[in-house]
């Protein structure tokens, strides 16, 4: 069994809705899935940084209560349904495939499509959908999360949860505004 503790930054209104109705797959940054920062003691800071970054983009401006909320959750799933996209073997094979098929390795949409294709085939082969994808992502811009030093820590890990049954909410912290 794989277990992670993750954080999800959002507005208080949305956190209340999540508390009552659970997460929806559209809650995340992009693509389908629910996004959690899984980077140890920086989880809350990353979630707040992300919330502030979203505030700047006026994502929560129409929410009834736009103050910050950080959802801390335990993510739990069988090992076979968790794909660690940072797995060296996995990345090497994607790289080799791009080389074999003469794909421009600097063309991000093509590389992203290889990942998409590869993961779909992995799922078909195992006749099972990965519930959790683990990968490194860009942190919120530094002015929204100055505590997180990418130079020391590298890019933060994120869990993309595709089955909300894996999520158990542990606690919700609320109250800060975008300047708090």
């Amino acid at each position: 069994m794989s277990e992670f503790e993750g954080s999800h930054g959002t507005s208080k209104s949305r956190a209340d809705k999540i508390k009552k109705e659970g997460f929806t797959e559209s809650t995340g940054r992009g693509g389908s899935g629910i996004y959690f920062w899984c980077h140890g003691r920086y989880n809350t800071m990353l979630a707040i940084g992300w919330y502030k970054f979203q505030c700047k983009k006026k994502v929560f401006v129409q929410d009834k209560d736009p103050l910050a909320a950080v959802i801390i959750a335990k993510l739990e799933e069988e090992d076979s349904k968790v794909l660690n996209m940072e797995n060296i073997k996995f990345k090497e094979r994607i790289d080799q495939l791009a080389e074999d098929m003469d794909i421009d390795k600097n063309k991000e949409p093509d590389i992203a499509a290889i990942y998409d294709l590869f993961i779909e085939d992995l799922e078909l082969k195992s006749n099972s959908r990965f519930s959790i994808l683990l990968l490194k992502v860009a942190p919120p811009p530094i002015n929204y999360c100055p505590e997180y030093s990418i130079k020391i820590l590298g890019a933060p890990l994120c869990c993309v949860v595709r089955d909300q049954a894996c999520i158990k909410i542990l606690r919700i912290t609320e109250g800060e505004d975008e300047n708090g």
Binding site: R29, R93, D116, L117, L122, A138
Partner: protein, 165 residues
């Protein structure tokens, strides 16, 4: 169930690499709009290496981008899926460049701009003073006429040199 992920990865790799390039590209095209592809692009998962190394070189000059035409800034950057792949790539590269610039120069930018503007203002003031002096000395009313006069003199001088030779 995937009992051994490494074995499954190897098997999928062997299957995909055995496809013809045409067949592979055909399948790839379908996956460009897949949810995982979208997630990877939106989270900048492919750019984290560059972010980690603290360097991300721009591949597009901002002046090449017709922002108004793309219409992307009418909404928020998360509406990128509303525009074509080509425009997506261009806008994303531009956005990355801007963000990287912001990362690198966030604190220095204000001072840098202020000193650049001050320096440009001083230079413009000097040029204006010089022009004014030139105008009063020569009676020419514009720099263009002054250049024309200089060109004429140069041509006359060159002709004299040729004659002398």
């Amino acid at each position: 169930m995937v009992n051994n992920i490494d074995t499954a990865i190897e098997s999928v790799y062997q299957n995909l690499s055995s496809l013809s390039r045409e067949e592979f590209l055909r399948r790839l095209e379908i996956h460009k709009t897949g949810s995982i592809a979208k997630m990877i692009l939106e989270t900048k998962a492919l750019s984290v290496g560059e972010i980690e190394s603290g360097y991300s070189h721009p591949t597009l000059d901002p002046c090449d981008l017709d922002i108004e035409k793309s219409g992307v800034w009418d909404n928020q950057p998360n509406t990128l899926d509303q525009i074509s792949n080509k425009e997506y790539e261009r806008v994303k590269t531009f956005r990355d460049w801007v963000l990287n610039f912001q990362y690198e120069f966030h604190f220095e930018l204000k001072d840098l701009l202020a000193s650049t503007i001050q320096s440009a203002s001083e230079q413009m003031e000097n040029i204006a003073i010089n022009l004014s002096e030139i105008q009063s000395e020569t009676g020419f009313t514009s720099a263009k006429k002054l250049i024309e006069k200089e060109d004429q003199e140069k041509y006359y001088f060159d002709s004299k040199l040729k004659c002398a030779a």
